[in-house]
């Protein structure tokens, strides 16, 4: 009996060994083939059909209706413009957890992509590490500043856009109570928060602002719960800067609207124009969106890189003046002309330096005391 069991285990181990061995040999052939390829295309990206670009999402995923999706749309547009094929010329890798960042980045490097984006500040440590190990590949990091000669950092002046969102919210609210739902607490989302608070208080210094963090960019359930609490507490406008978590905020607003079409609840979207997300029957709960054209930036940097002008080591900052940050006016019923013109006024003031929008907690305190 004991002998038999031992034999069985031995047989099992042997069979595993065989399978592994078989895979090893088949790989050698393939990987040498790959190597040949990379030598041809890796030399220099002269023709556009040799150029390839890929991105690694954060945990929100490529269909988060927000930040990652916008980046992917940028890559798709870039692919269309240059006649690239999905999978060959441009592609994405989805991360399901923090541990996947490095694996995904390294895998794309090994698949010989010329330019690889890390989407979101969460990827910064992983991207810096992989970039250091692969000095011949170009990398782009969106939303944070990474150090390295082969990394370009793409950042946005989200505080300025959020300021305008705050102005719109303060003008729209009837209860003088507005809310903010953040994703993970950190420097980046604080930037949104500071701008939003500053904008709202500029219009109405006595406005009440409830600030909550869901501690995740991918927790729609938490987003819904927070939104439900806020709307129950008389808050009627919520600005979310929380990626896929914000889908829960939209869901809650639409539920309220479904039950009582006359109740006024609004959501301010983020990153993309989230007009579509707010649709319910013939109404729409999306007041406006703080549009951050990640797609434009991603596309632009990819084009630069393809033309051989990779801005390695630089920090590219996009703001209101490049129209990379803007306030959507798709919902014309909600964004009345009055609100739009006021928002335009403030935009003007930001542009000519009359208002210096705070981007951190300390700057916000200073700003508030100066009001």
């Amino acid at each position: 009996m004991k002998n038999r069991r031992f034999l069985l285990i031995l047989a099992l181990l042997l069979s595993i060994g065989f399978v592994l061995a078989a895979c090893g040999s088949s790989d050698e052939g393939e990987s040498s083939g790959d190597g040949g390829d990379s030598n041809e295309s890796g030399g220099e990206a002269e023709a556009s059909d040799d150029f390839s670009v890929a991105m690694v999402t954060d945990v929100g995923g490529v269909d988060d209706k927000s930040f990652n999706q916008s980046s992917w749309e940028g890559l798709q547009a870039f692919g269309d413009e240059n006649g690239l094929e999905e999978g060959e010329g441009y592609d994405y890798a989805q991360s399901d957890s923090e541990g996947d960042y490095t694996t995904n980045l390294s895998r794309l490097v090994r698949q010989d992509f010329n330019l690889i984006y890390g989407i979101g500040y969460l990827l910064q440590p992983a991207l810096e590490e992989v970039a250091e190990q692969n000095p011949d590949t170009n990398f782009g990091l969106v939303d944070s500043v990474a150090e390295g000669d082969n990394i370009v950092s793409i950042t946005f002046k989200e505080h300025e856009g959020s300021f305008l969102a705050g102005v719109a919210a303060a003008l729209k609210t009837e209860t003088d109570k507005i809310g903010f739902v953040g994703g993970e607490d950190g420097d980046l989302i604080r930037k949104f928060e500071s701008g939003y608070v500053a904008g709202a208080k500029s219009v109405n210094p006595d406005i009440e602002i409830d600030i909550q963090y869901a501690e995740s960019f991918a927790a729609a359930d938490k987003g819904k719960l927070i939104a439900s609490n806020m709307y129950n507490n008389d808050i009627d406008v919520i600005y979310h800067a929380s990626g896929a978590t914000g889908n829960g905020v939209f869901a809650q607003a639409k539920d309220i609207k479904q039950n009582n079409p006359d109740e006024d609840v609004w959501v301010i979207g983020v990153d993309r124009d989230q007009h579509e997300e707010g649709k319910i029957d013939d109404q729409n709960v999306t007041l406006t969106s703080m549009v951050k054209r990640v797609d434009v930036a991603v596309n632009e940097v990819a084009t630069l890189t393809m033309d051989g002008d990779f801005p390695g080591g630089e920090v590219m900052e996009y703001g209101l003046d490049d129209d990379a940050i803007s306030i959507a006016t798709t919902n014309e019923d909600a964004m009345t002309e009055e609100i739009v013109s006021e928002v335009e006024d403030w935009k003007e003031k930001i542009a000519n330096g009359e208002v210096d929008v705070p981007s951190t907690d300390e700057e916000l305190e200073e700003f508030e005391s100066s009001l």
């Binding site: 009996m1 069991r5 895998r107 927790a219």
Partner: protein
């Protein structure tokens, strides 16, 4: 010709096979090519030494969290709290790694021991509550998971750093990573932790099968009343079992803290290492060798899955379905057992 033992070994193998088969059928139904899909998975897990290294990296904590769950189950306890114990282990190891500057021979073992001790402590609480007050360990461990998650976040933010999202990197003298392995595997994050995992599997087998204490632990698991009657202290054995289980889980955290990452970042949710451990233990039939093999399977599936969307266009979620199916088939082992016995009869 089929003894009970062979059936016990056959069930996981058949379950894996069935899981992959049903997974393939699902792929066909949704218009994907299963051969291409599984090919991409294989390539993504063993394609070259980089992927192999990453697979081993993933397997390492799975072995330890699987051992943690298996050890508790063998003594009749359901330790759902492995996830939380992984967190405190991770925190403790990184803390020791960051805070001290010591020669490697002291620093590394100290960091590893700290992780094991932290995990053991996190297991001790539900253990003592169960032993003294009869509180069910499942309830306590589930809650301890959340306590661990949010306290580690708070400690990272406010105690170890000043408002940062992640700790500094641990000192080189506390790191399990090795340049030699990294170079050999094209910078994969594989590290020496796999040796610790193997050693722990051996230790678990030894404790349970070769020591008096292990016999007591198992007998309490089989029947606490009989064990009590035979003069064994049930409470003491429960606490001890939870602590050993927690120590294994804490070590799984150390693998992440000292090996894979070298730091601890605030988390928005669970790492799932602990929860996967439950599945690993189940598939591995709660034996040390079984857990090691099951952990290899899960690591392979997880890492290989990342390659599936790019190469074969198959979404990674499919692998989650396959894993769920495997667990389903293991859990419904009665069905497989019935079929096997059926064949046996007909054979005669």
């Amino acid at each position: 010709m089929f003894t009970n033992r062979t059936i016990n070994i056959l069930i996981p193998i058949i379950s894996v096979f069935l899981g992959l088969l049903v997974g393939a059928i699902i792929m066909v139904v949704f218009g994907y090519n299963p051969v291409l899909g599984y090919g991409a998975l294989w390539e993504g897990a063993f394609g070259d030494s980089y992927f192999f290294g990453e697979t081993v990296r993933m397997v390492t904590p799975y072995i330890l969290s699987g051992l943690a769950v298996a050890f508790a189950l063998r003594t009749g306890l359901l330790n759902i709290g492995v996830e939380g114990q992984v967190f405190v282990g991770w925190l403790a190891s990184v803390w020791v790694g960051v805070a001290f500057e010591l020669p490697m021979v002291i620093h590394l073992p100290l960091a590893i021991l700290a992780a094991a001790a932290a995990g053991a402590f996190w297991g001790f609480i539900p253990g003592i509550l169960k032993a003294k007050l009869g509180v069910h360990e499942v309830i306590v461990t589930i809650m301890m998971n959340y306590i661990a998650l949010y306290s580690t976040n708070a400690i990272v933010r406010h105690v170890i750093t000043e408002g940062e999202d992640q700790t500094e990197r641990i000192a080189g003298s506390a790191s399990l990573a090795s340049e030699w392995i990294a170079e050999m595997t094209f910078y994969s994050r594989m590290h020496y932790g796999i040796l610790i995992a193997f050693l722990m599997a051996l230790i678990m087998w030894f404790i349970l099968n070769k020591t008096t204490r292990g016999f007591e632990l198992r007998s309490v698991g089989y029947n606490p009343h009989a064990s009590n009657y035979a003069g064994m202290s049930v409470g003491k054995n429960i606490v001890l079992a939870m602590m050993i289980s927690g120590a294994f889980a804490g070590l799984a955290g150390a693998m992440e803290g000292l090996g894979t990452y070298g730091y601890l970042a605030t988390k928005s949710g669970f790492t799932n290492i602990g929860f996967e451990g439950i599945a690993v233990a189940l598939l591995g039939a709660n034996t040390a060798l079984g857990v090691v093999l099951a952990a290899f399977l899960f690591g392979t599936l997880k890492i290989g899955a990342l390659n599936m969307p790019t190469v074969a266009g198959v979404p990674t979620e499919l692998v989650e379905i396959v894993i769920a199916l495997i667990i389903f088939f293991v859990a419904s082992s009665y069905m497989i057992r019935w079929v096997i016995l059926r064949f046996k009869k007909e054979g005669k």
